[in-house]
Every structure is written in structure tokens, then in C-alpha cells.
Subunit: 328 residues, 2 copies
């Protein structure tokens, strides 16, 4: 069925019916002028918003609608994870080209709904609109954090060790394979369905183990630069400590695995710094399998700058190389 | 300057610098993975999101960027007003075609910023993206309400009187004039810069005077239908009680003033229902100039349906005629 047959009211009803929520914190759900939620005393509210635009953030030629919906929510979940928060409530705004099929939109929302269910997130509102051109999805996610336990980007200090969760570079390598026409495999899955580190974020927050934290959405080089800029510090990381998956190591790609790991985007792993006194606790958690993370370097003084040391001990500046949407 | 010269990072910095906030409830502002805000105990959180798409919700041929930014925020403010809430924190997501000038985006944000200042709203986050096609603006607004004082759409009861604030139909008449090539005047101003009824909403909430409430964004016919559907009631309204401005009455337009008032969208006035026992208080407030509102009808049983009675006493069904974006 075409959207033009269903109409906006029809689409809204279809979406609303599929998204009913039962969370007891929600006292006004979908269907009023605004949603109403109540947080427990002693918790703070976290809020993030991410806009995904067709042709910029995704390509419908190789992105299934289900995974697109899921990913649109997952990238927001990663932002809440990066604060050590618990994702709770989402609002979904979409602008849809009239030519899309209703079944495609159903798939998109099915991806959103199943993902929200996995993370116990309630969908409490949103907006739908036609689009004269491409598909746009803007999700706003509310999270909660115990008062005083939020982990910011700006609290890194000289002497902190730098850790990252998981492995880096898989997602951007997967994107390259998708563009080449491949459709399956580990790297592609990592690109289409990232796995935000909510449990790890909460573990680090609850135990006050991370000093500063960010999620790696633009590549570790760029995101480490954000931490350093906002904390007024420098950093040194070591090439041979960067965690790279077996899948990335053996994939046949244009660039070296390390290049994807440093500059590739959309890993949605966490980068965090740890004070000297907490290193043992982190290493214990890693060795006991409670945390999947690796130490990749340390925080230095601001004036020392941000450097990468290669396997032969040579150092070079680690530049923020994040993707620039407006530059061609 | 073109956006392509400034780049996304440059645009982000430019926006962030212009939007610094000092609200004490904001413990993490723009620049981290998520914003962090703290609400006072005893207050509930309201949240709404509105997506405006070029070619659907606005036309850059006759919408100045400053007013577009202002209006994008104002329509969200109206949603919070319709719950009886106080608008507090906004997140601004935009997708920008590469061909736009930096100065245009500056104007857009100046409109947002001045409007947020007028309503004491802090901008706490957002997202920027390129757009392959048109300009999109998605604003998410958080508001607060004293616990138990929120006014929903679903609480109208048989016997309630129906009121609206201000005058209706001005905005859609203004849009028609804009499309004809006119650029100034009262009706056009009402379309480009609506004035959401925050004070009125708070007054009604604080004094528990409104039973059910909605903002009139799709025309009183459609929005009264929403109230009736969600409250499971019927309604009768009277043609000659619909408040129509002098400007609309004397304007030379295609349709009768009443048609704009009933079916025109984007008035952003409030429609609310009042229990019998509170009518005197409302009338007192109106006569003392504390509230600008008029009674237009009453709530009936659901089975009676929703009707309009004309000046000769004839009745006809009042159909929801709101704008359908997907139908042509």
C-alpha cells in the first residue's frame, strides 16, 4: 500500500497502535499535545537527539528498513550509555517521502519497537510528516542517572589511563563492503546493527570507575580529541594496543585495519579514562569477564598534545579526522 | 559564506557559542553525548517534538529565516502550553542543504535564540546534519508541570462548556495572502509568528479551571474532534460564537471568514473545556482581563456526535478537516 492511500491520520493511528506503552513512569503517552513522565526522586534526566538523513547517514539501496529503524534508536542509546545512564523514553519524528510503501514504514517501526523492547525503552511520542525529498528520522531519547553519577567528557586528568570497549573499525570497514556490493558478514552486521554499551556504561558509573567518557561515533581519533579538548588535557595512545577484531584483520579492504580503527566512524564503543587508583578494579573486572575493554594509552598534559605511538616507538600527532558532512 | 566553506564542525561551534545557557537546572549543557537536567521534586516532565520540513510546513520563498526559527520553537511551546506546563529546555536538530548560506542559518538560530530568551527556555542540545534536499528542523521541548496539574485531552465530560482563546482563522488566511504575494499585515504576522498561550495555559492549570485542553494547530473542527475522541464525548458549537478578528472579517479572501476559523490550521490558540462549577470563575477572569477567551459551545454525550449550529439554528456535522500531508 502506498502512503498516499493511507494518509497522515491513517499512518499516525497505525504507528500509535503499534507502540502502546505500559511503563509506570509515563503518565501521558502518545496522543496528547506532549508526553508526561515522572522520574524518581534522586534521579537526573539525560536527553539526547540524533537526526539521520537519507543520502547522508544511510543509503536505502543497502539498508533494510528494519535495521534502519533499529539503528536510529541504537545510536541514541549509545549516547545515553556514554553518560553512564539508563535509556528510558523515546520520541520518534519521521519525515517520509510520499512514494514510500506503508510496509516499509511498518518495517522501520518494527525495528524501532523491537529495539526499544530489548532495552526496556518506552516510546512516548513523536511526529510524522511528509517529505518532499528523502527520508529523515529524528529520535530523541530520555535517560536517567542516579544523581551525581553521570560521566562527562570533561573530567579526564593527567595520569588517567585510556580504555576502549570492544573492537574498533569494524563498522566503517563494513560500510566499505556494503558499498562494494557485499550484503552479509560480521563487519556489515557491525555497521548496520551496532551494539551500544549500556551495561558497560552503567557498570562504570555505578562503581565510579570512569573519570571521563564518550561514545566512539566519529572514530577514536576524533572522539579522543573531544575528550582532550573538553578536559583541557593531552593524550598518548599506542597503535599496537588498539583492539582490532579478527574479522577486520582478515578482511580484504583498501586501507590497513588500523586506519579503520582510528578514523572509521560509527563503532559506538565507549572510550573512557580511569584514575590510577581505579586501574586495578578495572583490570579485575576485565579479567573476570565483567567488562570487555582494553587499555590503549594515557592522558597527559594539554601542552604535550595528542599523539599516536607506532609499534617501533615513533610518534605522530593524532588528528581529529571525523566525517565532515558539508565539505566535499 | 557558504556552508561548504565552514564545514560541519565549524557550524557546530558557531551554533554552540551562540547558545550558551546559565539555567541552574542544567548540569550538562550543549557539547556532551547527552544533556543533563534536574527537575525540582514535585514537578513532572512534559516533552514534545515537532518536525518542520521545507516544502511541507514552510516555503522559503516567503518565510524569513529568523521567523522560521522562531516559529519552529513557538509551535512546540504551544504544545507545552496546551498541557498547562511551563516550557523549559529545548533541543534543536537541523538538516541543512549544502547550498544554504551561513548567514541564513545564523538568522534561523537568532530567531530560535530570541524566542527561547523571551520564554526563558534554555537550549541544551541538538544535532546538525547536511541534507541532500530540503531544510528540516526538528525541535524537542521539555516543559515542567506541578505534579497532578497537567491538563489532558481526555478529561472532557458531558456538560462542560467549550472555550477558545484569542481569535481563529487568522493564520490560514495569512498563509493564503502570502501565497498570493502579500508580505505584510496582521494576518500574515499571525501566520509567521504565532503567539502560544503559555500564560493562559498556566493560569488554567494553576487554578484547576480547565478539564480538558488542546492547542488548535489543525483547525478547531479537527482539534475539537481530538478532544471528543479521546474523552469519548460529543460536542455542539455555535457558528456565531466563534471568535473572528476584525482583520479576518475585512480581508478579501476566497472563502468566508468562518471557513478559515473552523478548518484553517496553525492558530496555536487553546481550546479547553470547563466544568459547570468553574464557569463563573472563568467568566470573571475574562471580564477582569486576566484571560482572553470566548465560550463557543458545550460537551454532549458521545452518541450525540459533533455538531455546528449556524446562526439560523440549523445543525450540521463538524468534520475533522485537518490537513493531510500524504494525500494530494
Amino acid at each position: 500500500m502506498k502512503l498516499s492511500e493511507l494518509g497522515e491520520t491513517g499512518l499516525l493511528k497505525r504507528i500509535e497502535t503499534s507502540l502502546q506503552t505500559v511503563d509506570k513512569g509515563v503518565f501521558i503517552g502518545i496522543g496528547d499535545d506532549a508526553a508526561g513522565v515522572r522520574f524518581a526522586n534522586g534521579t537526573d534526566l539525560l536527553i539526547t537527539t540524533d537526526l539521520l538523513a537519507e543520502g547522508i547517514h544511510f543509503d536505502l539501496r543497502y539498508t533494510p528498513f528494519y535495521k534502519l529503524g533499529a539503528k536510529a534508536l541504537l545510536v541514541n542509546i549509545s549516547d545515553i550509555a556514554a553518560m553512564g545512564g539508563i535509556p528510558r523514553y523515546a520520541l520518534i519524528a519521521i519525515a517520509v517521502p510520499q512514494c514510500l510503501k506503508v510496509e516499509d514504514i511498518d518495517e522501520l517501526y518494527r525495528g524501532i519497537k523491537n529495539t526499544s523492547a530489548s532495552y526496556k525503552i518506552s516510546i512516548i511520542g513523536g511526529d510524522t510528516s511528509a517529505s518532499k525529498s528523502g527520508l529523515m528520522i529524528n529520535i530523541t531519547l530520555l535517560g536517567e542517572a542516579q544523581r551525581g553519577y553521570v560521566i562527562k567528557r570533561s573530567s579526564a586528568k593527567k595520569g588517567d589511563k585510556i580504555f576502549v570497549t570492544g573492537t574498533l573499525g569494524d563498522s566503517s570497514a563494513g560500510l566499505e563492503l556494503l558499498k562494494k556490493g557485499k550484503r552479509n558478514g560480521y563487519l556489515i552486521q557491525r555497521h548496520l546493527l551496532p551494539a551500544p554499551r549500556v551495561k558497560e556504561g552503567i557498570f562504570l558509573s555505578k562503581n565510579r570507575l570512569a573519570a571521563a567518557m564518550i561514545d566512539i561515533s566519529d572514530g577514536v581519533a576524533t572522539d579522543l580529541n573531544h575528550i582532550c579538548e573538553q578536559s583541557s588535557v593531552g593524550a598518548t595512545i599506542y597503535e599496537d594496543k588498539i583492539p582490532i577484531s579478527k574479522g577486520l584483520k582478515k578482511a580484504k579492504l583498501k586501507k590497513r585495519p588500523l586506519d579503520y580503527a582510528l578514523s572509521g566512524g560509527e563503532d559506538y564503543e565507549l572510550l573512557f579514562t580511569v584514575r590510577e587508583r581505579n586501574i586495578k578494579k578495572i583490570c579485575d573486572a576485565i579479567s573476570k569477564g565483567r567488562l570487555s575493554a582494553a587499555m590503549i594509552g594515557e592522558i597527559t598534559e594539554k601542552k604535550k598534545g595528542i599523539f599516536l605511538i607506532d609499534s617501533r616507538g615513533r610518534q605522530r600527532p593524532l588528528l581529529a579526522t571525523g566525517f565532515e558532512h558539508f565539505k566535499s
